[in-house]
């Protein structure tokens, strides 16, 4: 049986599109959010650096949503992805 690789659509916020050639959406393979981020590091390292620090942790003020749910309300970076799922990257609300 050939292994089927899930591909997820990653939505890139406008302020980070300069790190990935202006793309609004990127198709990234991976069965979990972590695998998508690992692939993103390979495909678009500058965008990955904007989302994750050098330990691989998602930056404190970045929100990752699988469809409409924040990954912290799911299984974190271990959240499994299925066909048709999307990941949206959003900066957290802040002021001052």
């Amino acid at each position: 049986m050939p292994q089927v690789t899930t591909t997820t659509t990653l939505h890139v916020p406008s302020m980070l599109r300069g790190t990935c050639g202006g793309m609004r959406r990127i198709e990234v393979p991976g069965a979990t959010v972590l695998e998508v981020l690992e692939q993103l590091e390979r495909l678009h390292p500058e965008l990955h650096r904007a989302i994750c620090d050098e330990t691989g942790a998602v930056r404190q003020h970045i929100g990752l949503f699988v469809n409409t749910d924040h990954v912290r309300d799911l299984a974190g970076l271990g959240t499994r992805l299925g066909s048709g799922d999307s990941i949206t990257v959003l900066p957290a609300v802040s002021g001052g």
Binding site: I51, D53, E54, T55, G56, Q60, H61, P91, A92, S94
Partner: protein, 362 residues
């Protein structure tokens, strides 16, 4: 011959550049560059005429900005300092940028406290393990501003580092190895008044022509341990003694040395509790005797109701024959102290909160 005086002003909302001809009658302001992102370290590199600034975004990470046209525009260097993946630490801020020996060599002190070096003008960076992986590193504790390496003072093979809170570290082999060198530097927040390391050093300064004499603005303001806030070393930083007598407070952040006299220094005493000017009356204090006595400089400053805070890199001095000081406040004022601080005037009144002011002549 340098023709322009350039100020790089790092604020909570980005970098500003102010420029004047040598008489320094007025400054033209440009910016903000890296808008919306706090800037804690800048460098006017008089070797190359380049300007550098950190731009550390809590959302999207660390950047180093560089300008090759005197601060008219900035671009990002190819990379910023970053810990190796297996290190386990993640960079949170860049607190210090200093020139190295080579024309394109730069040093960066960062948070969490570590040192990085670049040989190509900031396009690539290597961690300096002698201090970044020092046996003491896991025992250093963050102060109110974070666990930061904020001061790099170099003198040939001698490298002095200021870490808050870690204290003063000294290398005498070009930065290969470092030792804590805190004899005489007190701490008010641990049981041992003079620990081997862990002091909350705020800033270190020295004159390049007198490398054996150094000054520290330490975290003073302790009623039970008076006088530990302002210190001098006459032996290349191996031992330190108080020079705080005569000041209204030994708490403060910056300390600056006159460009033409190693015995003339400037501090900005603040009340320890509020970190603002004592009594709401701003003043810079100058010693012309390496700390033996002090003179209060207030001419031009408000006489009352002005609670300035000046951070560790909020004071600098140019190298003109009659030098001017530049003082930035967290309430967004940029003051110029002409004639070595004898006469002050507010050049910019409403900038964002100022973290750092550096001056260069290019």
């Amino acid at each position: 011959m340098p023709e322009r005086v350039v100020l790089s002003i790092g604020t909570k909302k980005g970098l500003f550049v102010a420029e004047s001809s040598k008489p320094r009658r007025s400054f033209r302001l440009r910016g903000p560059f890296g808008p919306g992102v706090s800037v804690y370290s800048t460098l006017v590199d008089e070797r190359s005429g380049r300007l550098y600034a950190s731009s550390c975004n809590p959302f999207f990470g660390m950047k180093v900005l560089v300008s090759s046209n005197g601060g008219s525009s900035f671009k990002e260097t190819r990379s910023a300092p970053a810990f190796p993946k297996d290190d386990g630490r993640a960079l949170r801020n860049i607190w210090s940028l200093e020139p190295g020996n080579g024309r394109k060599e730069l040093w960066a002190g960062v948070e969490p406290a570590a040192l990085f070096r670049s040989d190509d003008g900031g396009d690539s960076w290597d961690k300096v393990p002698g201090i970044s992986d020092h046996d003491h590193a896991h025992k250093w504790q963050p102060g109110n501003g974070g666990l930061c390496m904020h001061t790099i003072v170099r003198d040939g093979d001698r490298v002095h580092l200021g870490i808050s809170t870690g204290g003063h570290y000294l290398s005498e082999d070009g930065g290969r190895t470092f030792s804590a060198s805190n004899r005489g530097i007190g701490a008010g927040f641990v049981p041992d008044p003079y620990p081997e390391f862990g002091q909350c050093v705020h800033k270190i300064a020295r004159h390049p022509a007198a490398p054996g004499r150094l000054y520290i603005q330490n975290h003073g303001g302790w009623a039970d341990r008076p006088g530990i806030g302002v210190l001098r070393s006459d032996d290349y930083g191996h031992s330190w003694r108080s020079i705080a007598s005569g000041l209204p407070s030994d708490f403060g952040f910056p300390i600056v040395v006159h460009p033409h006299d190693p015995d003339t220094i400037y501090v900005v005493p603040l009340e320890g509790a509020t970190r603002t000017c004592p009594g709401g009356v701003p003043a810079v204090w100058r010693s012309d005797s390496a700390g033996a006595s002090w003179k209060k400089l207030t001419k031009g400053f408000p006489k009352k109701q002005s609670y300035f805070t000046v951070l560790r890199d909020g004071l600098d001095i140019d190298e003109a024959k009659s030098p001017a000081l530049y003082l930035g406040t967290t309430t967004g004022q940029l003051w110029i102290g002409r004639d070595g601080g004898e006469q002050w005037e507010c050049q910019f009144d409403s900038l964002p909160p100022i973290n750092v002011v550096k001056v260069g002549m290019i």
